[in-house]
């Protein structure tokens, strides 16, 4: 056999057994992954095999978490319109995605959320008044509460994902049995660092669950314009990540999927990708006007898939809730939000003197000079002594 024919024989044996071919219209068929769900849009159980076996008190706790998320969002929107809150990213319509991903976590697990995660952060133990401080521009809002194993979100899209992956690499390094859950949107899926993180996690079998909250829109860019294949769970194949696509407006579906992913990571089997298909019902942020780029009919159609109403229907069918209880619970939570607003207002004290105090463990000599100069500036302006100075 000549060297040339030996080479071509070797090349022939490397031909992949499965070919991915484009269809007549040029598209590639990678999009036929089934969306799993427990509840349909009316709250009827459609997959009892996946239905989590949870006590009634837990089901009600989950419901409360979702309502808290919604009520806090709505109150913050009102406060923002009245000038009491800075620009923020409401999570309206994504309550099931949010609560479903944190519900199966333990307090020892690490949570690395994106900035559209207020409901999940409250679930994890952040007080509402602290989150109000954060979004109203007070630095202490980012003080992670004691005993809460969370990372801060990053305003730069996707930039928190490798840090979450690094925590998971640390966990693996120390053979600790905790896991990391991180979330990001469909827009973030276009960031190179998110792909790099998938790969690192897969190579090291790091215990991390990537939740992509595919909510249809990245500000004005629809998912079809964002992703060559809008089925983001399909990316798992290329990176060697097991993946699941779940109805993100079905909280029980989310809990089923995330519990499975978390168990997988906890037993050392490596990372998992969960694509939650949901919809951003409201604004990208309060600085955004979606009427410029999307149709009312689309939003209306998704109103019919409301994650909270769907779960209410399920709870009603199980006799755990009726209209009266729903109203009472809503009022209770509204009072909780209003009380948080009061606490926020009492805590809302700007501390201009502390801006140098967190940059290094100890302020280097040359920065001490700059701090002294800044203090002089405050003194000239008559800014009051407050905070740690």
């Amino acid at each position: 056999m000549s060297p040339r024919s030996a080479t071509s024989a070797a090349a022939a044996s490397r031909t992949p057994p499965v070919r991915i071919e484009s269809r007549a219209d040029g598209s590639i068929d990678l999009g036929s992954i089934e969306v799993i769900r427990v509840l349909d849009e009316q709250g009827e159980v459609v997959n009892s095999d996946l239905e989590p076996n949870l006590p009634e008190s837990e089901l009600l706790r989950i419901y409360r978490g979702m309502v808290r998320s919604r009520r806090l969002d709505l109150r913050m929107l009102a406060m923002q319109r009245q000038g009491e809150m800075g620009t923020f990213a409401p999570g309206l319509g994504q309550e099931a995605t949010q609560i479903g991903q944190v519900y199966p976590m333990t307090s020892r697990d690490w949570y690395a959320p994106s900035y559209r995660s207020i409901g999940a952060q409250v679930w994890r133990g952040w007080s509402m008044d602290q989150l109000l401080l954060l979004w109203a521009g007070y630095f202490e809002g980012f003080g992670i509460p004691e005993g809460v194993n969370d990372l801060p979100f990053s305003i730069v899209i996707g930039a928190h994902v490798p840090v979450a992956t690094g925590v998971a690499m640390g966990i693996r390094n120390r053979k600790d049995d905790s896991v990391v859950v991180t979330n990001f949107g469909d827009g973030a899926s276009s960031q190179g660092i998110v792909a790099e993180s998938f790969n690192f996690a897969a190579v090291y079998k790091a215990p991390i669950i990537f939740i992509v909250e595919s909510n249809g829109w990245a500000i004005s860019t629809p998912i079809e314009r964002q992703c060559g294949n809008p089925v983001l769970a399909a990316r798992g194949v290329g990176f060697g990540l097991p993946a699941v696509r779940v109805d993100g407006n079905d909280v029980l579906g989310m809990i089923a999927a995330c519990s499975c992913a978390i168990d997988h990571a906890r037993r050392g089997a490596g990372p998992y990708l969960v694509e939650a298909v949901t919809y951003r019902m409201s604004l990208h942020t309060t600085a955004d006007d979606p009427k410029v780029y999307r149709k009312e009919e689309e939003v209306k159609a998704w109103e019919g898939k409301c994650p909270i109403r769907r779960f209410e229907n399920y709870l009603k069918a199980r006799d755990l809730l009726d209209d009266e209880a729903i109203a009472r619970l809503g009022e209770e939570i509204e009072q909780e939000v209003l009380a948080a607003r009061e606490t926020f207002r009492q805590r809302a004290i700007a501390r201009p003197k502390e801006i140098f105090d967190f940059v290094y463990e100890q302020l280097p000599a040359d920065l001490q000079g700059q701090k002294a100069e800044y203090m002089e500036r405050l003194k000239r302006k008559g800014v009051e002594e407050r905070g740690t100075g």
């Binding site: 630095f139 202490e140 980012f142 003080g143 992670i144 990372l151 801060p152 990053s154 730069v156 930039a159 928190h160 994902v161 490798p162 840090v163 979450a164 992956t165 690094g166 925590v167 998971a168 690499m169 640390g170 966990i171 390094n173 120390r174 190179g192 660092i193 790099e196 993180s197 790969n199 690192f200 190579v203 967190f358 940059v359 290094y360 463990e361 280097p364 000599a365 040359d366 920065l367």
Partner: protein, 327 residues
């Protein structure tokens, strides 16, 4: 006492830090089995195992981002970027997370990590292998930027960088990696970050340099003292950030004249910052304008002509002589 090259001295410091503290991990492209493309991490995999000497995929941004996460978890990663020209891939994670995490979390998650990278020209390398971009990092709040000049201070400063509670960019002058040997003490040695070193005292002019430029600086100093009767005081900056302003002001207050040398581009470079500080704090002592001998504001040239681009002893002597003509 052993005579070591800078590569051997850095390897020694890594081994000592890893032996002393089991939170210290080394990670990067080819740092394990291969021992690093310059062999700085040679032998560490065998000594400390794959959990602590981590060969990573080829993705600089994720190397830094995951190192930040490991530091959040409580480890002390030392991440190697193969050439400083590739740190641009990681600009995102250095700026967004490595530099900011302590501040963003109000001390809850301090980032005690080191990014090591060989920098600078003079080794006949391809494009993107010869840059000196330390000024980028010095401009970023939250970071420290350290550049050793020889085997002994490389070992002591790397030990300090690994022990530091804040993130350190550690630039290694690769032109010095194997250029000479130096006596290095048997016992672990640590130098304080943020202190400049007066290498040669003198009374006529302060000559400031760092990293690979210390060789032409010292060569020029010998020439100036012996051939031109100029008694130069030579300062090795060692730490770009924090900068030892006090040492610089003290020296220039004494000599009244100053020349600064670096290989990075001139505009907004380290020399510009030193001049601004001396202007603020030693203006009344100045006898002559402060001169800069630096790289030019052009891309680093291909290697057949790099020797003409890099500051050399000759150009330093010329700048010093010009500065001495002011009366």
């Amino acid at each position: 006492m052993p005579q070591l090259t800078m590569v051997e001295a850095l390897n020694l410091a890594l081994g000592e830090s890893m032996a002393a503290d089991d939170r210290v991990c080394v990670m990067g492209e080819d740092v394990g089995v291969n021992g690093g493309v310059f062999r700085v991490t040679k032998g560490l995999l065998d000594r400390f195992g794959p959990e602590r000497v981590i060969d990573t995929p080829l993705a600089e941004n994720a190397i830094i981002g995951t190192a930040v996460g490991m530091a959040v978890y409580g480890l002390r990663p030392v991440a190697e970027i193969q050439f400083s020209g590739f740190t641009m891939q990681a600009f995102d994670q250095i700026e967004q997370n490595m530099a900011r995490y302590r501040n963003r979390t109000r001390h809850r998650y301090p980032i005690s990590m080191v990014m090591r990278a060989p920098y600078g020209g003079g080794i006949r390398a391809v494009e993107h292998h010869s840059e000196s971009r330390e000024a980028y990092w010095a401009h970023t709040p939250g970071l420290k930027v350290v550049i050793p000049s020889g085997p002994r201070n490389a070992r002591a400063l790397l030990a300090a960088a690994i022990a530091d509670p804040d993130p350190v960019i550690f630039y290694e002058p690769k032109a010095v990696y194997r250029a000479f040997r130096e006596e290095v003490s048997e016992e672990p040695e640590v130098m304080e970050i943020g202190k400049a070193h007066v290498v040669r005292p003198g009374g006529d002019l302060t000559l400031i340099g760092y990293g690979a430029m210390m060789r032409p600086v010292l060569e020029a100093a010998d020439d100036l003292v012996q051939e031109h009767g100029v008694d130069v005081e030579v300062i090795d900056l060692l730490s770009i950030k924090p900068m030892d302003t006090i040492a610089l002001v003290e020296s220039v207050s004494k000599t009244g004249r100053c020349v600064i040398v670096h290989e990075g581009p001139r505009t907004c470079g380290v020399a510009a910052e030193i001049i601004a500080r001396l202007n603020e704090q030693a203006f009344e002592y100045l006898l002559a304008p402060i001169r800069r001998v630096t790289g030019f504001d052009i891309h680093f040239p291909f290697f057949q002509v790099e020797k003409h681009y890099l500051p050399d002893s000759d150009s330093i002597v010329a700048a010093v002589k010009e500065t001495m003509t002011w009366t």
